[in-house]
Each structure stands twice: as C-alpha cells, then as structure tokens.
C-alpha cells in the first residue's frame, strides 16, 4: 500500500495495512544535511533534499513542506530570529498597538520571498513523488496568528474587550491565510495542516472559543480548496472534538493532555486523530522506551483506523536523536500492522 492510500484509508476510519507514521520534521532537515538552520531555509532545494532523505530513512508516510511559523509574519513585514540549532522564532510583533489593526492589509503571497520559497519546495516535492506520498503544507490559523502578530497580552485584550479590532484582524487574517493555504494546494500540497493552539481549552475557554475562534475556523476552512487538518499543538482537545470536526477538518492533532480512552471514543467516525508522542521526552528516550511508547499509543488509538502516529506538537525537536526516530519507525512496522494484535 502506498503512503497516500494508507493515509486516505485511515482518514476514512478504516484499517489500512498498518498505522501511518507522520514524523513532522521541519528544521530537523538542517541536521540531516549537516547545515545550520538559517543556511538550510535559504534554498528550497535543501528542504526537498532533506524531506526525501528523511522519508527514506524513517519510512515516513508524509512529506512536510512546512518551513517555520514566522515565515507568514515575514509577509506582514516582521522579522524572524534564527538560531543555528533550533526553530526560528518570531521577532517583535508587527502590530505595536491594538488600533494598528485598522491599518493592516493582507499581504500578497507572491511578493514574499519566504512564502515563494515554500511554494517552490512544494512544487519540487510534488514533481518527485506525484501522488504516492501526501505532501502536508502548513498555515497558522487566522485565530492563532495574532499571538505572534501583536503578542498574546494585547490579543487577549482584543478578544475580551475590543470586538471591533478583533473582527478587523480576523478579516485580514482570514483573507491572507486562505490565500496562503490555496497557494500551497495549487503548488502541489495534498492537504493543509492548520496550527491552531488557541482553539484548545487549555488556552481559551470553550465558551469564548465558540463565540470567537469557532466561527472564524468555520469561515476559513470553507474557503480552503482541499483537505485540512487542525493541530492544537499539545493543548487539550477532548472538549472541542465535535466543534473541530464540524469545521470540516479531516484530521485533529493532539498531545498528551487528553484522556486516551475518552478521546478515541469521541473522535471515532468523526475525525481522524494524529498524535501524540511527547517530543520533549523523546530527547532522552532509550530505544526500548520508544518501542514501548509506540506500542502503547497504537494500542490506545489504532483500532478501526482513524489514527496516524505522530508527535503531539507538530514538530520534532532538534535534540531528538536520529536513532530514536529510527526506533519509532521500527516500532510502527512491528506493532502497527493491521489487524492489530
């Protein structure tokens, strides 16, 4: 079975030949090529070479065309802070005051050098793998992007007390994020992963989410011309599984915060789960621990399909040793074959 068929089968809540493995390897590609992170992201060819090499090495069932989150902010005029051996980080927020949102306009995709590099990498990956392997593009959700656009504190003031400014910012972000998602699909991405940590009740309480982030997600996802996944980046997911499924997303990324039995039951037949290895703990796992944990997670979530093994945050840390990723891959081959024992 090809990776594409394996993934499509599990998303349909049926059992494929084995549990699909999505190792979300973004800046980790620099380590694969022996480069620093800033050097790595300068050329789309680097990302393509690393993605193909890491798919081979770890038997990964996806290619990840994601560069880094703040690349979207670069389009708005913000800067990215690079380090040699870790994820690029967003610099100072592009919006200094809440009222600045009324002067903000959605940037054009094709005038941003960073976004153009992502699109070129996506095109090259598509040329290499065709429809054999899903290519996952990433967009920050319109609702969560403001955390790095204006800073969490001012954004919370907007959510609770400045409805006019909140709505204006959502309008700008919805327009930009939908255009960015569709540009990646047009370049060859199979599906769009949406990072949306603020939709988790760990960060925003559900009643406020229902009033704010939920309608934003419904509107945004309806504009995306392809399959979508929503990732809550380690936050609690269980209380909002139904709402997220109702946005039309096919996959939900989850972390270690949820009750596995309750989550599997809630998601069954509604939305495919993707998770939930603890990336930070993986930095000091042994191979035995990797095998044991993968087996446990597959036991908890694998039955009946509707499950992709991945990490719980959407990004493998630089410090995770290669041999642990290989051990995770081996364990999936060993314990993930359907029918599960």
């Amino acid at each position: 079975m090809s990776s594409m068929n394996r993934v499509l089968t599990t998303i349909s809540h049926k059992e494929p030949d084995r549990v699909p493995l999505f190792l979300c390897l973004s800046f980790y590609g620099a380590k694969e090529l022996g480069m620093t992170v800033p050097e790595y992201f300068k050329k789309p060819e680097n990302v393509v070479a690393a993605q193909l090499a890491m798919r081979e090495k770890y038997q990964n069932d996806c290619l990840y065309s994601f560069f880094y989150a703040s690349i979207e902010l670069e389009a708005f005029g913000s800067e990215t802070i690079f380090v040699d051996d870790g994820p690029p980080n967003a610099g100072a927020p592009v919006l200094r005051t809440i009222d600045d949102v009324f002067r903000l306009e959605p940037p054009e995709i094709d005038t941003s050098p960073g976004l153009t590099r992502v699109l070129r990498a996506t095109e090259m990956l598509k040329e290499r793998v065709g429809n054999e392997v899903p290519i996952i593009g990433i967009v920050m959700s319109p609702f969560s992007l403001p955390v790095i656009q204006i800073g969490f504190e001012k954004y919370l003031e907007m959510i609770y007390f400045r409805k006019d400014a909140f709505e204006r910012l959502m309008e700008v972000n919805d327009s930009f994020c939908a255009a960015w998602a569709n540009a990646q699909l047009a370049a060859g991405a199979t599906a769009i992963g949406i990072f949306d940590p603020l939709s988790s009740p760990s960060l925003i309480e559900k009643p406020t989410y229902i009033r704010t982030g939920y309608p934003v997600a419904q509107r945004f996802i309806s504009k995306i011309k392809g399959a979508t996944a929503i990732h809550l980046a380690s936050g609690l997911t269980l209380p909002v599984v139904r709402e997220i499924a109702e946005t039309g997303a096919a996959i939900l990324g989850f972390g270690v915060a949820d009750d596995p039995v309750a989550l599997k039951k809630e998601a069954e037949g509604r939305i495919c789960l993707l998770g939930n290895l603890n990336g930070l703990e993986m930095t000091h796992w042994t191979k035995e621990r990797a095998h044991r944990t993968v087996k446990t997670v597959i036991d908890q979530f694998g039955k009946g399909g509707g499950f992709i093994l991945s990490d719980g945050h959407g990004e493998i840390p630089w410090q995770v040793p290669e041999e642990i990723l290989i051990a995770v891959s081996e364990a999936v081959q060993l314990y993930g074959n359907y029918p599960l024992e």
Binding site: V147, G151, E153, L156, Y160, E205, T208, N278, T283, W318
Partner: protein
C-alpha cells in the same frame, strides 16, 4: 449576579458582630475573575477590604483564589487566558489597595523574573501579576536575554531568587548555561523555572540545574515559602 450576601449581623450580649462567610465570597470573587468582570471583582474586593483588617486577609483572598484558578487550569477546567486575566485584575486591585492602606510591598527575598532568549512573554507576565497581587516586589529583567547579561543583571541587583519563564525548548536548555555561569561567578542565587517545556518534560528542571520547577504560576507561593524558610 455574582455577589451573594457576604456579611450579616448577629447580636450576642448586646454587641453587634459582623460575621464573614469566607467561602461564599471567595467563590464569587473567583467567578468574577473567571468572567473577566473587573467591575464585580472590584466591588467584592472593596467590600472585603472594608470588612477585614490588615493585609494578611486580603493576601489570603487573592492568593487562595489565584491558586484555585491555577489548580483548575491544571485540571483543564479553566484556560490560560482566564489565568492571565485573573492575575491582571488582582494585580490592579492590589496596586490600588496598597498605597491607600499604607502597606509596603515585600522587598525580601529579592526576586527577579526574566526570559532567556524567548521574546513572547505571557508566562512571565502571569507570574509577575500573581506575585505582585500577593504584595511581592518583583524586578522584571525583560525578555530575549542571554545568560551572560542575565548573570550581570542578577548580581548587580543582588537578586536572591531568579524566576525564569520559557516558551521554547532550546531556551529551557539554556538554563544549564546560566547555572554554570552563576557557579563560576560564585553567586548563590536560587533559580526557579517554569513554562511549557518544563510542563511537558517533568524532570527537565533538574537536568538543567534549576533549584525548582513550577507547573503553574501560583506554585511560586509554596516555593517561595520553602526558600524563605530554608
């Protein structure tokens, strides 16, 4: 309607005694904070301040309430946004109360807070609010700092307890470098760490050489008590 009747008057041997039902009041105060309702929270706080004498009662209300809210966040019942807003409202109330009551902030132990490397400072803001709401003075060294500059600032300000808030895993690992620099300088500061990396990897605080790790902002009260008494 969040305010229940909090006080009543009873007569004993001809003397009016004003009694206080702490639990009902605390629940109303907590609910007002969780609803980010500054008006109701302020009203309850002022009534309580009028009915009690001394900062210790006020401190107990604020600290207990923020701790309850922190506990509920740990259990997934309330959100980080509610934790943040509650801390900010309490900080504002205490800022208003202390000068009026002629109460000075606690200057001992000397506490500072900072972010190593990271720029986005919600966690630092929450801890600062919670401490200030309990009457502590906290020096904010800012964010995006290198370990070298943080050591300099700490020594220069004669800090006894240094709180490090982190967002990124790489920044959490930098605490080891910070600890090594303090040891080389022979400066005996206590380092308490918190933030997402330490929540996701429970043994991390020890591996990076911190003196303690904090899962939620209000844990700081117990940790400080322990440090102060030790």
């Amino acid at each position: 309607m969040y305010i229940k009747e909090c006080f009543y008057t009873s007569k004993r041997e001809g003397e009016s005694l004003r009694m206080y039902k702490f639990n009902g009041l605390a629940e109303d105060f907590e609910q007002a904070l969780l609803n980010t309702d500054r008006v109701v929270a302020t009203s309850i706080f002022r009534r309580y301040a009028e009915a009690t004498e001394g900062f210790s009662h006020i401190e107990r209300l604020v600290v207990n309430t923020l701790d309850q809210i922190g506990e509920k966040w740990e259990r997934g019942i309330v959100s980080l946004a509610q934790v943040y807003m509650s801390g900010r409202i309490c900080e504002e109330l205490i800022d208003e109360y202390l000068p009026v009551a002629a109460v000075k902030r606690r200057e001992s132990p000397r506490i500072a807070i900072a972010m190593l490397i990271d720029q986005h400072a919600l966690g630092k803001r929450i801890v600062t609010s919670v401490l200030r709401a309990a009457g502590y003075n906290v020096i904010d060294f800012g964010q995006g700092l290198t370990s070298e500059s943080l050591v300099e600032k700490t020594i220069e300000s004669r800090i006894e307890i240094l709180l490090i808030s982190t967002l990124m895993y790489r920044s959490a690992l930098k605490v080891r470098e910070l600890r090594d620099r303090f040891e080389r300088a022979g400066y005996p500061v206590k380092i308490i760490v918190g933030g997402a990396p330490f929540r996701l990897d429970e043994g991390l605080w020890e591996r990076v050489g911190a003196d303690a790790g904090s899962r939620k902002a209000s844990d700081i009260f117990a940790l400080l008590e322990k440090e102060v008494l030790s």
